[in-house]
Symmetry: C2
Subunit: 388 residues, 2 copies
Amino acid sequence: MSRQSPARQHTLHTLETPCLVLDAERMERNIRRLRERLAELGPSLRPHLKTAKSVEVASRVMTSDAGPATVSTLKEAEQFAAAGVHDLIYAVGIAPGSKLERVAALRAGGTELSIILDTVEQAQFVAEACRNSGDAIPVLIEIDCDGHRSGVRPEDSLTLLEIGRTLHQGGTELRGVLTHAGGSYAARGAAALERCAEEERAAAVKAAETLREAGLPCPVVSVGSTPTAHFARDLAGVTEVRAGVFVFFDLVMAGIGVCTLDDIALSVLATVIGHQPEKGWILVDAGWMALSRDRGTAKQDVDQGYGLVCDINGKPYGDLIVADANQEHGVLAMRNGADSALPDLPIGTRVRILPNHACATGAQHDRYHVVRTGSETVDAEWPRFGGW
Amino acid sequence: MSRQSPARQHTLHTLETPCLVLDAERMERNIRRLRERLAELGPSLRPHLKTAKSVEVASRVMTSDAGPATVSTLKEAEQFAAAGVHDLIYAVGIAPGSKLERVAALRAGGTELSIILDTVEQAQFVAEACRNSGDAIPVLIEIDCDGHRSGVRPEDSLTLLEIGRTLHQGGTELRGVLTHAGGSYAARGAAALERCAEEERAAAVKAAETLREAGLPCPVVSVGSTPTAHFARDLAGVTEVRAGVFVFFDLVMAGIGVCTLDDIALSVLATVIGHQPEKGWILVDAGWMALSRDRGTAKQDVDQGYGLVCDINGKPYGDLIVADANQEHGVLAMRNGADSALPDLPIGTRVRILPNHACATGAQHDRYHVVRTGSETVDAEWPRFGGW
């Protein structure tokens, strides 16, 4: 599925900057790592493709070209379905109207697309649509395992059962429960991450048991986030794990201890365009448009600014970070203002910037330039898409 | 230049969400306001098209279809040149290699494209390229008026004159000086903004005088930022003003007092997808992917979260803001947690979210859905582009 650059063989010295570079060797290693973990623990992997938004990356991270996989937009569902992925969960609460119509159209086209919801109101309009169409859409009830966003609390049996019955008796297929430990992104260290993973598992399993004890079906118990997927010690009762950013990793994940800097597969290639020696600044042509406005490390122990700066081969220059960013300017400076250690980077020098958040930085670009670790040769160009 | 939606006449009730909505009446009013100011003050307007990235918006904001205009990327220069804009400044410090080659290619195609720089090193490689090609590229020396980013300090005559002579004697066309009062984004209130505008003017004029006194040409004195363009009381010595975000305005501009909420022409249309009544939260399908990660109001007197929430006609619900955002989820809550005032927005309700920063939010979308103030009818769909 790889597409070679058609016109010329690019290197990291000839690409237009700023642009997105993907170290495919690191990516393959990250994928193997999670697969091996899950092979030991039992559940299957349903990777979240919202991070990659690329058919080429998807084909490498999924266990088969047909899925299973998770998406965050119907655009992703449509793009991946067109590329032959037939088993998908749209993991954002369903809305009435055109979203439900697009789900129906994808299903009519042969894609096994499931949806999620967390209110009786949603269960009612989905059930009504299923009765009208005769297509029993598979639905997972979203469970709130840590209070971070959406979902039914696992102890709220009343709501859970009302939603479950509305779905099961109303004409949909009650497929199971789904939860996401988004709170784990704020955890630090192995013990805290293990606790998040166990809370996530326990919440989903408890909700599944509530449904089953009431005679409702619940074949699927779906959990997942990159931190909890890597720190779960036991996934008893869980049938599948969703995770997305594990494919690339990023500085936020390194900051909470899920990966090392050496695991981060994504970087932004940039060119030095100026110096402000009195201030200890080096200016590059990658601002927040190329890096994103994500400041996910701002509240971590090590604030990486808008990204950690590496040489063209991907080796960090110690504490050189993108200290500030305008639309098309990045301001490089030593962390904590240690000017003396500022490397000598003449105008025209190319650097690679590790992102705070791979999902956000990736989204600012329309393709990946694929390299091997330490190589300057661009082996392939993989398109990525955006939008809804 | 407007392109009507081909398939069907959309309304704000039928568009896919999240998507970008542009109130063309507010935009036209914003454009008129700055034009009228500059007509009184004297300098010409060279709008910055980095905010709009749209041929249709550009045609409305420029004083002629051929320009003049300012761009922040060579992709913008190429796109606008292809649409007939022939007078452009690429207002980011030039790098050697492919960037200079793309400038040369655009100029060879008939576009009057100028570049900027702030080091002797850059002046040398640009002069060398001009001697080799025989094309005297027009160059503006970037001046640092407030220490916020790049440029030569206006009092640093030595560097200024060395750059000026390298350019003028080396084979380029020394066109003038350019500065941008980026520091004005952190100012508050009319008096502070007037001071920023005067500092910006004085820095550019002082640098121009230094060059002229040494016998160097300096026909162009270019200044500009949206706050200073609106608060300058006098622009003596300035020949042109650049500004970009004034076309749409945003919450950051409202926060510093350059516009009111009623002037903000850009919003993100979103759909309610869930409720967490115990927490006082309403969930919508516009997360940071649709709103951007920009938190530009975080340090202002009124923190607008990830955006201020309005009804479908663009009227704010008092203090309802996007208090938090995940990739495809926005969490609406009352500012300061005043749950009692939370409006009743059933699942499926559509809202419009005013952005912190129009440049960042716009960049997350590939088109504008154009409406008139208060109307739900979508009159046109204008494409926008991204990339470099």
